[in-house]
Symmetry: C2
Subunit: 281 residues, 2 copies
């Protein structure tokens, strides 16, 4: 029995195409899925929308927009346009959350403050599109080890500071246990995120050392690492936010596991390590 609030992020079974993903999740008894643009675009958005509608699954989030820290120029224009397209794609699924990985330092730059400013500027350009589409751009603070090459936003507090000038319907945050559990301010920041109406996604997976050879693939099933999901999950629940909780794992061993086994394992570990701390549905 899969928890009714559990969504599996599609990247957890990276090698599944969209049809395989939907079949895996519906057969396992899931009610929700987190989509990635690549497998969606591989079948085309209209076809993907029909497939998802037929599956009966809710779409908890679309991954991922962002990567707009470069200075003004054709590359930046292409990124802004691409994010506009992604907002439309997200809305096409009736999904309200587009997860943003904002980008790191542009090639040759050492200016983190400048990169962060350009995140704010990009959001200012995209706010109206997001509002019009009914989609929230969910800034995801990434673990500081990815600060310079993937996301110059490293803490939930910083994500909230960047989001602050914008309509909470347009700009929110993604709360991902892996990226922020280490932060001594994490519980206060989750509470603040709730108070400010910014929580747009809650993603769970575990962290442990030694890191995998590729640190990007160091995410693990809940319970296989050192994260205590109780305080984090209770803090999110206490804000009143009630979306589907996504399990998102990038890990070569998980990707090498049969899809149905992963779906089962995600549901089981979620039941043990996360669901007990979420209010009964």
């Amino acid at each position: 029995m899969v928890s009714p609030i559990l969504s599996m992020n599609q990247a957890t079974i990276k090698h599944a195409d969209l049809r395989q993903t939907l079949n895996t999740l519906t057969q396992a008894g899931y009610g929700s899925v987190g989509l990635w643009r690549e497998p969606v675009e591989a079948v085309g958005v209209p076809a993907a929308v029909r497939m998802v509608a037929n599956s009966g699954l809710r779409v908890s989030s679309m991954c991922r927009g962002g990567f707009f820290t470069m200075p003004e120029g054709p590359e930046r224009r292409a990124s802004i346009d691409d994010n506009r397209k992604l907002i439309e794609e997200t809305a096409a699924f009736g999904c309200k959350t587009l997860v943003l990985v904002v980008g790191g330092l542009p090639q040759g730059s050492k200016d983190l403050a400048g990169a962060r400013t350009r995140v704010s500027e990009a959001l200012a350009e995209l706010e109206d599109d997001a509002l019009a589409a009914g989609v929230t751009l969910a800034i995801e603070p990434l673990h500081p080890m990815y600060c310079t090459d993937r996301a110059c936003v490293s803490t939930l507090a910083e994500a909230l500071d960047i989001a602050a000038p914008f309509d909470p319907k347009a700009v929110g945050v993604t709360v991902d246990t892996f990226h922020i559990f280490w932060d001594p301010d994490v519980l206060r920041s989750i509470t603040r995120a709730g108070r400010e109406g910014r929580i747009a996604a809650y993603q769970v997976c575990d962290y442990r050392t030694p890191l995998e050879a590729d640190p990007l693939l160091s995410r693990h099933y809940p319970g296989e690492g050192v994260i205590d999901f109780k305080p984090l999950t209770e803090a999110v629940a206490a804000t009143g936010w009630r979306g589907d909780i996504e399990c998102e794992i990038f890990n070569q061993a998980v990707w090498d596991t049969p899809f149905d086994e992963v779906a089962r394992r995600v549901a089981d570990t979620f039941d043990t390590y996360v669901a007990p701390y979420w209010p009964a549905c």
Copy 2:
């Protein structure tokens, strides 16, 4: 010509014994060295003190104490005793700074808050010893990627919060560019550290991705990564702190380089990337 404020941390030439370290640095024209306990204890503290005195080098810091996040029991007692011994060793060199790597999660624990509390408790036990010896215990916030296995204190603000109840002569902080450059609050925290009289060491080295296979060995010569040393160094200088600045690099390629070449390279990269932002001596 080596900058008169530059100290080379001994770990930068890890395979040098104490005599080789002192010879390398004096021949290269350094005025200061950061010591590690292992090569010191290999010759015995009294002999080491004589050797350092004869070298004419100042001792910018002793590395490293800490590792006291375990719960009460014989292991914790041994750690506290060991830190007391290290305070004495530090004082024996006329050195005022013992760098602390506080420790991560005890085996099997997921309780970061508990680990942090035990850091505070350990400092409370050691405060009087530090004051008596004239040694400052310099809490080093480590990059969050080491939070669970090496140091549960990840930001300068958190280190300052932990230090706050104690006499600034007894408990301070180590400002290390590698560990904290990513922090959006880093400049404010450096200013605060100065205001509160807590800066006990300033260490520099660079950061870049991809990380080395062993993330602990991912430290680089200034200028070889993405850290902008200007704002960090100017912020430290603006506090009025005027200690020797240590370059500390853990990196297999550096360790495989002849000692004199490393000493030269450290001095050259310091001159280019750090010294210009420090007030003229």
